[in-house]
Structure formats: structure tokens, C-alpha cells
Subunit: 344 residues, 2 copies
């Protein structure tokens, strides 16, 4: 199958959250062409009704059937082994059945992407507590995908990339206190991030991306006056990466490197990727122009995986109010990143 | 004198840096209306020639004379006591005479602004080493202005604000390592920053600004999971400020609060100011759309002071290449901030 013909899989997410309705909205608005929804047919039918779509729901036997489905049709590939009665669950509540179903959809998506039947995975939001209620020990998508990709072996290290159409930042540290994040900025962590980012870019068709490495301290330490992590840790990691053939540069002052890397009309960015030492150094610039444009990408997996940068939004779930623009951006990004990925 | 009629003073900066030429360019391009240059007449004449201006140089006796000066004229108020021969100094080198002259211009500007003869001060870049060579013990403008404003008393605390037309951020910590900045985020430092920002906004005509306080940690600590500074320090400081009548809110997640505060076409910001705990949390979003738009404002002084957000650029000084857009933004910001400030 040609690359462009391979569909993307969208996992339904937690059936009690906004996942099903934003997927239905995406398809209704014509932004889900080439996507197959992995989930429960009744849940997706109800979601289509909720968002006021007159759209048909096509039930597929395999992702390849998508080619025969008319436009604006919600193409659902039923996932085997889902719990019964999902469509009757009240929205906005933690439910073990919704957690179990969300996990099954992800497992099935990994089987399909590893078999080459889909080009990449876009995941709708899941709920950590619902997963736990179902006895699933992963705190989130990333850890679960890591384990499924390793298939019993040692999970490979992954990194979070936050990206929009202007900027792609890859994070050395994420969900920990700023104080502990400083301790986690090690030579190995920075070098590993550079290797993962470099390899991921090759998969999406940039064999030698220009990677800028942001410093940790103001002015990248101002020659050691404002902290020495740049001298002791970051610069040596950049040098080691360069010795491996990675086009890494820096460390640069955090306050200007993102601006320098920004790709906008009339402003070609100097770099293809920026490595940020902390969660907020990397996320502030990606989100600054609008949070709905930020897409979360997991690098280091043997396949493309993107997700919208929001959660299940239990507070508004089931009311047809949720905005699908971050999901739409995640689908666009998955298409971009998978266009050049070879089938496994 | 009416507020709108009071001129702004632009200090010449280091005569060996780009200060004089960007001032001349600003005036040539018609962006310096209502500005009086405090400096050396010969240096400013040479700068006008350098930038290819056919502009006249008017030598004033007092700032009030500006009213009689035709447009596009470079109005210079000679500062008494400047060293001789400044115009002959080679550009791009540290020189004690240039350092001494730069300091004299600043002193004179403070005299004028405190007397109400000018509405505010815009400072062209100075060079730390040139100041030191002249025996002047201040590392930069901020410390010098603080001392001059205190006039022998205890200098009042000041804070750096970085601002453009979309966003104003005030920094709790600035030029220190990230690790030490975390230690410097204390209850007193956050509360003092809130007080300074609140009082400054009243001076520029916003008597009760909506102030957002960014957290320090990812997701503002996620309820204590990712660090407890929000719980121990920042939230109590916000509460204390609110008890004083300051409209402070937060702490908010650093990655989205700047986006929420952004004032853009079709996107009215939720807040008037954002308090950032670290240099780069605050500066990354202000600089993201273009470094030339960022203006440095010192809050806590009894007068308006802005500056471009760049240095003396010795590497290109004297060649007529330097860009005046950050200076132009600093002049616009000083006008905005001083328009509502009462004469002392």
C-alpha cells in the first residue's frame, strides 16, 4: 500500500470524556479524511448524533476498507473485546469499563501500526483514574505505548515533543518539580534527547535536522556567571552529539532561541527543532500563540503517535461543546510526520 | 506644562557603542517626535551624518525649547561636564571617557525627570566595562538609577518588566542561576513584586490592574505533586496581596498563563500583567514574536524609565548598520507609560 493511502488510526479515548464527540466533530467538519476510528460503534454513533451531524457511520472490517468509504463518513473499526454497554455510561465520570475500553483501543492501534496497516496513531484523551479502576497500571498513554512497543523487552527511552506549525520543541525533563528537573538535566539525558530527536526527524523525512539546544540558565549561564550546567553538562552533550553526526548547536540563551527557531511567514526559522531543558521553557513558546494549536508527539517509539494537548474534560463531556481543533492539529501533525515514515 | 507636551529624555549611552547612531536613525525616521537627546553635540552630529540623514541638529538650552524645533530635527540638550574629545573616540572599544560621559547623561536625565522637565527617560545602551573604567561602581542602568532616585537614602526595590504591545511580564528573579533563582522565590520577593507592579500600573493609568501570577513548577505544581513552592510561597503571597487590595490571581500554570494574558487582535488578554518567577519564563513569551519588540522597563523608580532590550553592540558600532526598532519601541512604551503619570 502506498504511504499516502495508509490511514491514520484515531483511538476513541475514554468513552465518558470528550474523545468520541471531538472525533465525530472532526469527521463532520471534513478534517478527518483518511482516518479510521478504533472504538465502539454505538459510542461513536451516539457521538455523531450529539454533535448534530447527519453523517453516516461506516463499520469497517479492516483499515483498508476506508478507501471505499464516502467523504464525511465516520469510519469505525470496532475493537474486539470491548466491554458491553459503554454507550449507556454517564458522561463525565470515572468508570472502569471506559478505562478498560480505552486501553483495548490503544493495544489494538499498536497491533495495526506495527503490522503496517495504519501509518500512525492519534490518541483521544484517556483518564488516569479510569485506567487505574480497570486495573491497568500505566499512568498514561506514553508509558503504555512504550511498554506495548517493547513487547515484553526493555522499553526504549522516549521524549515528549510539543509542536505546532511554527515550532517543535523536545523536552529533556517534563512532569517534575523545577528543582528536581535541574538535577535531572544530566549529560546522558541531554545526549539521549538529542539522539531521539535526531532519529525521529529522520523517520519523518529530515535526515539531518538542525537542532538548537536551549540552555538551562538565564543567558545560557553567561559564561558561568549565572550557573554552570551549560559548561559542565549541556555543552559537552552537544559536542558528543556532534561527534555522532548530529547537527546539534548551542547551548543558546533560552529567551531568544525559540524566537530564532520560529518558522513563520517572512521569518524562516534558523533551526528545525529546539531541545528544552524544562517543561515550561519548551511549552511556553509553543502555546503562546494559542493552546489549541499545540500537539503532543511521542518521540522514540517505533511508530508515529500524536495527541491533542488536553485531557478528557469531564466537566463538559457529553454536551457537544468540546472543541476539536487540537485533535485536528494532532491529525495534521500525524499526517506530516508519517508521510515520510517507511512502512515497517 | 501639560503631560502631552512634556518631552521624553533619551540618554546618549556609550559614545563608542550604537547608542548615538540608533538615536539619529530614530529621529531621521520620524519616530522620535517629542524627544530630547541628552548627550554630546559633536557626537550626535557625527551620528546624524553616519546614518545618512540630512537632518539638522538643534542645540537646546532646556527641554522646553523642543516645542520650537521643527520636525525631523535632532534636538540635543548638551549635558554639562562631559569629557572633551568624545567624538574622536574609536567606535567599538571600551573607553573610560565614554563611560564617564554615559553616566553624566544619566545623572542629568534624573535631575530633569525629578524636576518635572521631562516626562520620562529612555536610555540608550551603556557598557559595564566602560563604566568601571571611569570608576563608576554600578554594574548597569538599573542600579545607578535606583541610587540616583534614592538620593543618598536607601534605594527602593525595583523590578524589571519586559513588555511589548501584547504582553507585559514582571520578573521576581533575573540574572542568577536557575537553581539560585528557585531559592530567591520567597514570600517577600513575590509580594514585593506584586506591590511594585500594582503601584507602577497606577502611575501609568491602570489603578487596579489584573495581575496574573505564574507558578514556578510545571502545571503550577499540580497540587504539590511537582513541587510545593506554589503552596508554600506563591499562593500565600497572592493571598497577602489580595488582602492589600491588589487584584492578584494565581498561581497559574506557566505554560498557558502568558498565552491567556496576550492582547492581540481578536484575542483580548485576560490579564494586564503577568508576574514570572524566573527570567526565562517571563522573557521567552515576550521575545517569541520578535526580539526587536521587547522593551525593558524598570518598575519601582519614582519616574518612567524604559530601554531597548539590547546592548552597545561594539561589533557593529560606528558603521551605521544598527537597527533602531527596539529603541523606537522603548520610546513608544515610555510615552504610553508616562502619558498618565502625574508630574512630580
Amino acid at each position: 500500500m502506498s504511504e499516502s493511502a495508509r490511514p491514520l488510526a484515531i483511538t476513541m479515548g475514554d468513552a465518558c470524556g470528550i474523545g468520541p464527540e471531538i472525533i465525530a466533530r472532526l469527521l463532520r467538519d471534513g478534517q478527518g479524511a483518511g482516518c479510521v476510528v478504533l472504538g465502539d460503534v454505538d459510542v461513536m454513533r451516539a457521538a455523531a448524533r450529539l454533535v448534530g451531524a447527519l453523517q453516516a457511520v461506516a463499520v469497517l472490517d479492516s483499515p483498508q476498507d476506508l478507501a471505499a468509504v464516502p467523504p464525511h463518513t465516520l469510519a469505525v473499526l470496532p475493537v474486539p473485546g470491548l466491554p458491553e454497554g459503554l454507550v449507556a455510561l454517564p458522561p463525565g465520570r470515572v468508570d472502569a469499563r471506559a478505562g478498560a475500553a480505552a486501553a483495548r483501543c490503544i493495544e489494538h492501534a499498536v497491533v495495526l501500526v506495527r503490522a503496517g496497516a495504519v501509518a500512525g496513531i492519534v490518541t483521544a484523551p484517556i483518564h488516569k483514574e479510569a485506567l487505574a479502576a480497570a486495573g491497568i497500571g500505566y499512568p498514561g498513554h506514553t508509558e503504555m505505548l512504550q511498554a506495548l512497543a517493547a513487547a515484553g523487552g526493555t522499553p526504549a527511552p522516549v521524549r515528549m515533543m510539543l509542536a505546532n506549525e511554527e515550532l517543535r520543541t523536545v523536552l529533556v525533563t517534563i512532569h517534575q518539580s523545577l528543582r528536581s528537573a535541574i538535577d535531572a538535566v544530566t549529560f546522558e539525558a541531554v545526549l539521549e534527547t538529542l539522539r531521539i530527536a535526531h532519529a525521529a526527524a529522520a523517520r519523518w523525512g529530515q535526515p539531518r535536522p538542525r537542532i538548537a539546544v536551549a540552555g538551562l540558565n538565564p543567558h545560557a549561564g553567561e559564561g558561568g556567571l549565572f550557573g554552570d550546567e551549560e559548561i559542565r553538562i549541556i555543552a559537552p552533550a552537544v559536542a558528543a552529539a556532534r561527534a555522532e553526526g548530529i547537527d546539534a548547536r548551542g547551548p543558546f540563551a533560552p529567551d531568544t532561541v525559540f524566537m530564532r527557531a520560529r518558522h513563520a511567514s517572512g521569518h524562516p526559522g534558523e533551526f528545525d527543532l529546539v531541545i528544552a531543558m524544562t517543561h515550561d521553557h519548551g511549552l511556553i513558546p509553543v502555546k503562546y500563540l494559542g493552546v489549541e494549536q499545540g500537539v503532543n508527539v511521542t518521540l522514540g517509539l517505533p511508530f508515529v503517535r500524536t495527541s491533542p494537548d488536553h485531557g478528557t474534560a469531564f466537566d463538559i463531556a457529553g454536551r457537544g461543546l468540546a472543541d476539536a481543533s487540537s485533535l485536528a492539529a494532532a491529525v495534521r501533525m500525524a499526517r506530516t510526520l508519517s508521510a515520510a515514515s517507511p512502512a515497517p
